[in-house]
Symmetry: C2
Subunit: 370 residues, 2 copies
DNA sequence: CTACTTTCGCAACGCTGTTGCCAAAGTGCA
DNA sequence: TGCACTTTGGCAACAGCGTTGCGAAAGTAG
């Protein structure tokens, strides 16, 4: 996966031609992403040029534009290696902000992040998803407005909530437990009420995007075990949503033919087995089942790491990590490869809100389809 | 998935900058792909311009180059719509050829295809993968040489064979049943012996690439049920190989916790269950298990279609299609969506060889990482 | 035959990254 | 302290990309 592919070899039917403005914004995004990844330590022009494969002169032109626009700034110099020392560039975090909103079944959490993705401010409120559309929209508008009060440049608002929904259109489907939301154009309604760009995505997808941007890996599965069991996939640095934002349905993977009935109507789903085990207090078994499902993903998708999140995992992180890792280690032994590692996803319960903000930020850095 | 994304939002670490030559070859590939897709009927310049989002003038420049290079030609005119009639362009099939080789456990099949992917000539031979490296390499060289005798422009040779292996490096791993191949640099050896470019891939991946290029869908799973049970994934028009060419391991997806032991050492693999059912003569059950595994993929990846191939399926196509489709239809009812269709993959036993040839052709048309 | 529509190439243009060159700013040694 | 050398990075000229403006070519409609 180290091939230097610069232009999408993707969807032929939808792939579009590239002209100079598109080329320019692509290269600019690459530079911005390197500046972001470098963090406060910064990165030199020559290193940027080397990493993205353009000449130093081209990078100088691009960074000059970025500095003129206030997105980048000089940040000291490196030690000399026998000649003129390199000038270090860094991203200006406060040059832009975005809001991420996590709409859960019974609560709302909103964060304001800067260009680097760091949380600048945060708010929370209790909010029943079943309380009606107007109440929920009003609640989001209230919290977002309070957060952005007095800030200058707001790129937009990202919202992560339980699916199913349509990410591209921003329309909800029959949100599990709240069928009355079916067909509601949440994106459109919020854009009208807030007057800024809004992007909507499944909660797990938002969290996975945040983890991907945060450098957790190029290809991984994020498994969220809270009241239910969900998941999201990052393949080659990109969140895989599928054509209908339906991808990542990890909870209803069948791992026991003709097993116990799940509330989805199927039998032997990972979620049903895990919830049953947790209900019995048998967390070891829950971890083993989770690990079996994870091992299926590893075999199917050849991912690099498995990240665990959610309340149930957070209550016993070592147990779930150890139990799932044991299954993957045995698989590694069988196929003669190093085991794929299992880790707890960082975030501390804010991962969905932070990831939702990345729905707006990521396109700036060439991640996502924006 | 209709967003017109022209430039990859992909792997930030490996994503590379785009300069004018890269831009040019990208747009040229898009035009070539449209010419290929249009077939012998051809396509007009204005339609190309409309599809890829460039101006007609830019398309005229690109097609003028292609005609000068002999890759495209004029092919009559369309009926007028009130003005000058459109000139139709088509791909010149004989402007380039590629060879695809299918190395199976006991046989070799090689096809010579033209630019459109149509088979021009074909050869077969019996060849034991266990007969030793020199014998196998010699066998491939002999058949390929006989095929290309007297042809002008050979783009290269693609080879599809059982995994695991490393697609990027062209190095084999412990090929199932033939551990002596571990570490053998097949690509390098063949390039030296043949003097042309060689690309190596898993047999199922090659077949899936051929199906993707052949217009079978944007996102699908190809499930190959022969002596064993394998698979390959096409996501967003691109074969998903994973970082180590390990993706697509469908046969060893666990669908029955603590089920019967599989020869891979695990328990309850789809392959073990399907083979056992077939061994009992219970094809309905084999189809049901296969369908359950397929339904897992549909839920996890949100794919558009499931394609079945392989000897065992070919022996009872209706049975497997019907049985698997039944599982997917029930899933569709549960989640309130149309069922994902199941079809038999076209190809008639040549799909791996034809797909292997596409390992060389596809990059010309902007598909794959070439 | 005239008016109109549509296709498509030529020429000029703006903007991209590249190349050649040189000033700036360090290190290292005499 | 001074000189040679290395490395960085900006200025200017350049080649090549798609775009724009315009006109010739090739049809239809009346």
């Amino acid at each position: 996966m180290s091939s230097a592919k610069g232009i999408s070899g993707g969807i032929s039917g939808a792939a579009s031609g590239v002209n100079l403005p598109v080329l320019r914004s692509h290269n600019t995004a690459l530079v911005l992403d390197l500046l972001r990844t470098a963090g406060p330590d910064g990165i030199s022009r020559l290193e940027v040029a080397d990493r993205i494969g353009l000449t130093p002169q081209a990078v100088s032109k691009i960074t000059a534009r970025l500095r003129a626009e206030g997105l980048a700034a000089e940040a000291g110099r490196r030690a000399s290696t026998g000649g003129k020392p390199r000038t270090v560039l860094r991203l200006v975090p406060e040059a832009g902000h975005a809001v991420g909103v996590h709409l859960d079944r019974d609560a709302l959490r909103a964060v304001l992040v800067d260009l680097t993705g760091a949380v600048v401010a945060e708010r929370g409120a209790s909010l029943d998803l079943g309380a009606g559309k107007a109440a929920v929209v009003d609640g989001v508008v209230r919290e977002v407005s309070a957060l952005v009060e007095g800030r200058g440049t707001l790129l937009g608002v990202g919202v992560g909530l339980p699916g199913p929904l349509d990410h591209a259109l921003g329309v909800l489907h029959r949100v599990t437990g709240f069928p009355e939301w079916d067909g509601f154009p949440l994106r459109e309604e919020l854009e009208r009420a807030l007057g800024v760009s809004v992007v909507v995505d499944k909660d797990t997808n938002a969290a996975a995007l945040g983890l991907a941007v945060g450098g957790q890996g190029e290809s991984f599965a994020y498994l969220h075990f809270g009241a239910g069991l969900g998941g999201a996939l990052v393949l080659g640095g990109v969140v895989h949503r599928g054509a209908r934002t339906g991808a990542g349905e990890f909870g209803h993977q069948v791992v026991q033919l003709d097993g116990p009935v799940c509330e989805c109507g199927n039998r032997g789903c990972v979620e049903a087995l895990c919830l049953a085990a947790v209900g019995r207090g048998d967390y070891e078994e829950a971890a083993r089942v989770l690990g079996t499902g994870a091992a299926n993903l590893v075999a199917l998708l050849d991912i690099d790491v498995v990240l665990l999140g959610g309340r149930t995992v957070a209550a016993r992180p070592e147990c779930f990590v150890r139990g799932a890792a044991a299954v993957l280690e045995e698989r590694g032994r069988r196929v003669g490869e190093d085991a794929v590692p299992v880790r707890v996803a960082p975030g501390g319960g804010r991962e969905v809100a932070e990831g939702a903000a990345q729905l707006l930020l990521a396109p700036l850095f060439g991640r996502g389809e924006g």
